[in-house]
């Protein structure tokens, strides 16, 4: 009897390789420990005196330091001095991640063979047993966490390999890989965690690693400040996440995903409580995934090394917010108002960031605003309950945006090498200093164009399918869904959804324009790097271009993950079926089981999206004249709207005036001078804490006259008093 019960309860994955799921995050953790130890054990000064730094003469070192002092902002590659443990680190860093990826694939294979309707939860140990609250350190395998794990470890491995080439000559090489491995560990805890608190540990951990890696070249104050900005802005979001967790526990009494999803319906559909919880969760997502109003940290995060921007600030960490909403789909389907908020903020961010991207000159900043914009797309998708579309775009975006960032890293690497060779201190990341690079870097050129076509949404490239699915979902929801029936701030839901659709289309047009602009200015037209520098421009080594090629292939064929039913180029809707157990019910709750759009509408939507993408590319080619560009040093100042866009709508300045400055003022004048120095230091410490004891001490010290006669008198009087008290009581 007992045995029978056990067999019915056992998950089909128990006993398989999935039991080893804990090893997936632990492997990068081991890498972190090894690399961190190597970094610390070699903390002694390294440089030209070090024999392993052969090939880099003292002159080169000196030059690097000059450059350090000169580097205005976020300039990659500073000192050139290969670390003495660079060899071991190059094997351990990417190696642990490759093992982790291999194990993830093995678990994925094991999942394919069996039914995975219910999540497989592997409890490692009891983490926080405290009264009614009991949280286990448990990992959960289900289709959604598996997709994320494969993306994180797969794309992560490629970026680690690229980093080997990109960062090898940096003196902080082991430290870099230690942070990178630690990041992967926390990211895997985030995606594999089986409860909100475990997810939150990963959530905070990736924030920490993001901070460490943005400020990797912390000797430059701008970089350290960018790290702090990212960390502080994220704290605002984390506050929302924490409040959401408190509310969940207070009202549902559970924090693990299985428990919460079972108890969630008791919150009630469209109840104020469900909406509040979801909005607080979304505040957390807005911080982590850089949505309005908390997006400001992501462009500044480009101060970190470029592979970091690719891994953390494009492919993985910033998508955690999308993952969290997809993971909490059962909650969001109860709160249509919160869903519309998510979708609207997403649409607004997509459009807003895309306009800023139009006028940025720093190649990485274009990509940063593009990332903010594409994240907005994902939030539109998960906001309208198209969770599969959101995750699909997350995956394809991880491919093509990682490719774009790594490609830009390759470009910056070449530019920097050229400037380094000629002792030029110009900005290696400014597109006005590039131009015509296709002649020098043909491989990067072709791959970057593939990614550009993918992000613009040109058919057969991966981005086309995911973006189209999002647009179609928004349109379909506006047509018929539970979202269309509720009112949002007094506006009918369907109107809001049509507006969001319009914003998403506008963002698609702008995406095509700014991406093509970036390509034209970087790779087309005449070269503006400089006469002497041109001969030093060259393609990056194979260790860097290799991962780019793999990502290029994924960017082309990533769309095959989830082909729409009307375009049967292969097995259709694979991802839809795969994620069905996780987000299927929540999606149906939103659509109300409505039928798909009819084929003619769907073809029309696809046609509109493709036309807009092509229009954007054509506009960019017609309007932009790379021949007229001049290098950064001679460039005239922009005027009017161009200047507003270049200066990012002055949002940073606005935040500085309205939030940062008043906070600093209040901290300095009220908290520091008033409370800390005035009340605590003066009143409590100097007057009460020190003054009163000093007064008693003064009286006490008067009694100690040092005159033995006085003591004898006092003693006698005391004796007489005591005797008198005994006698006359």
């Amino acid at each position: 009897m007992l045995l029978q019960e056990a067999t019915t309860l056992a998950h089909p994955l128990s006993g398989s390789i999935a039991e080893l799921v804990w090893l997936v995050p632990v492997l990068p953790l081991i890498g972190f420990l090894i690399n961190g130890w190597l970094s610390l054990s070699a903390a002694a000064p390294i440089g030209p005196k070090d024999p392993s730094a052969a090939g880099h003469d003292a002159h080169g070192q000196e030059h690097g330091q000059q450059h350090d002092a000169h580097g205005a902002h976020g300039d990659d590659h500073h000192t050139v001095a290969r670390h003495k443990y660079a060899g071991i680190v190059s094997i351990v860093g990417p190696g642990v991640l490759a093992l982790s990826f291999g194990l993830s694939v093995a678990i994925f294979m094991a999942m394919l063979g069996v039914s995975h309707e219910a999540p497989f939860v592997r409890t490692l140990f009891s983490w926080m047993p405290a009264g009614e609250l009991s949280v286990d350190a448990a990992l959960q395998i289900d289709p959604l966490s598996m997709v994320m794990t494969l993306v994180v470890t797969g794309v992560g491995t490629l970026i680690h390999l690229f980093s080997v080439g990109y960062m090898r000559d940096d003196p902080g090489y082991p430290r870099y890989f230690a942070y990178l491995n630690l990041f992967i560990f926390f990211m895997l805890v985030l995606v594999l965690g089986a409860s909100y608190p475990v997810l939150f540990v990963g959530w905070e951990g990736v924030g920490l690693c993001s901070y460490l890696l943005i400020g990797f070249w912390f000797t430059d104050k701008a970089n350290a400040d960018a790290g702090k900005k990212a960390f502080i802005v994220n704290r605002i979001g984390d506050f929302g996440f924490l409040v959401a967790m408190f509310l969940l526990f207070a009202n549902l009494g559970a924090l693990d995903f299985v428990g919460v999803s079972d108890a969630a319906p008791s919150l009630g559909f469209n109840s104020a409580l469900a909406t509040t919880i979801c909005l607080f969760l979304f505040l957390g997502c807005a911080g982590k995934s850089a949505q309005i109003p908390l997006y400001v940290w992501l462009p500044d995060a480009m101060a970190g090394p470029t592979p970091v921007s690719a891994l953390i600030h494009a492919a993985t960490m910033v998508t955690a917010g999308v993952y969290l909403i997809a993971r909490s789909a059962f909650l969001f389907s109860l709160a249509p108002v919160a869903q519309l908020t998510v979708a609207f903020i997403g649409g607004l961010t997509a459009l807003f960031a895309a306009t800023i991207g139009l006028k940025q000159w720093d190649i990485k900043r274009v990509l940063a605003y593009s990332t903010v914009s594409q994240l907005g797309y994902m939030f539109v998708a998960v906001g309208v309950g198209a969770y599969v579309a959101g995750v699909f775009h997350l995956v394809t975006h991880a491919f093509f945006k990682a490719l774009l960032f790594l490609g830009s890293g390759s470009v910056i690497f070449a530019m920097h090498r050229a400037y380094h060779a000629t002792h030029n201190h110009d900005d290696a990341q400014d597109m006005r200093n590039m131009g015509g690079l296709r002649r020098y870097m043909p491989v990067t050129f072709i791959l970057m164009w593939i990614a550009t076509l993918a992000i613009a949404g040109i058919p057969v490239f991966s981005g086309f399918f995911s973006k189209d699915e999002i647009l179609a979902s928004v349109f379909a929801r506006a047509h018929e869904s539970t979202l269309a029936q509720v009112s949002w701030l007094g506006i009918p839901g369907s109107t809001v959804l049509y507006v969001i659709y319009g914003m998403a289309l506008g963002a698609a047009l702008l995406t095509a324009i700014y991406m093509t602009r970036m390509m034209i200015y970087t790779f087309h037209g005449p070269n503006r790097t400089g006469e002497k520098e041109q001969s030093h421009l060259a393609e990056a080594p194979w260790i860097m271009t290799g991962p780019l090629v793999v990502l290029g292939v994924l960017s082309v064929f990533g769309g095959w993950l989830n082909l729409p039913a009307i375009m049967p180029l292969g097995p259709i809707q694979v991802l839809d079926h795969w994620l069905e157990p996780v987000v299927g019910p929540a999606t149906v709750a939103v659509t109300g089981g409505a039928a798909h759009l009819d084929h003619s509408t769907e073809y029309m939507l696809i046609g509109a999206a493709v036309a807009i993408a092509i229009a954007g590319i054509v506009i960019a080619f017609v309007r932009l004249k790379p021949e007229r560009l001049v290098p950064k040093a001679q460039a005239p100042d922009e005027q009017g709207i161009e200047r507003v866009l270049r200066d990012k709508y002055y949002v940073d300045e606005l935040y500085d005036r309205t939030i940062v400055k008043p906070t600093v003022w209040a901290s300095r004048n009220v908290l520091s001078t008033g409370i800390d120095q005035g009340i605590i230091d003066k009143l409590l410490v100097t007057y009460i804490g020190a003054g009163i004891p000093r007064m008693f001490g003064w009286f006490g010290s008067r009694l100690q006259s040092g005159q033995l006669g006085t003591y004898a008198w006092v003693l006698l009087i005391g004796v007489i008093a005591v005797l008198g008290a005994f006698t006359f009581r």
Binding site: S701, R702, Q704, S705, G706, Q707, L708, G709
Partner: protein, 97 residues
Amino acid sequence: MVAESLALSAVLFTIGAIGVLVRRNAIVIFMCVELMLNAVNLTFVALSKVYGMEGQVFVVFVMTVAAAEAAVGLAIIIAIFRHRQTVNLENINLLKG
């Protein structure tokens, strides 16, 4: 006989106590302390006539301790005198607050 002895010891004790209080010379004070101790000894002996032998036993103890105290006390006074050329307690007030 007991009453007279107690009266004498009271007188001796008072003289000793007043000496401790009013004199400034360390040697004199020291002698007054001895006087007080011996006044107490006299009380012990006198009362032992009434209460038994224990008082006399105590006197032996007191004399032993007084002898030890005299040795240590005189040594200290001599050390102070060597150091400061005086035994006037008004001048010895280093331990004031």
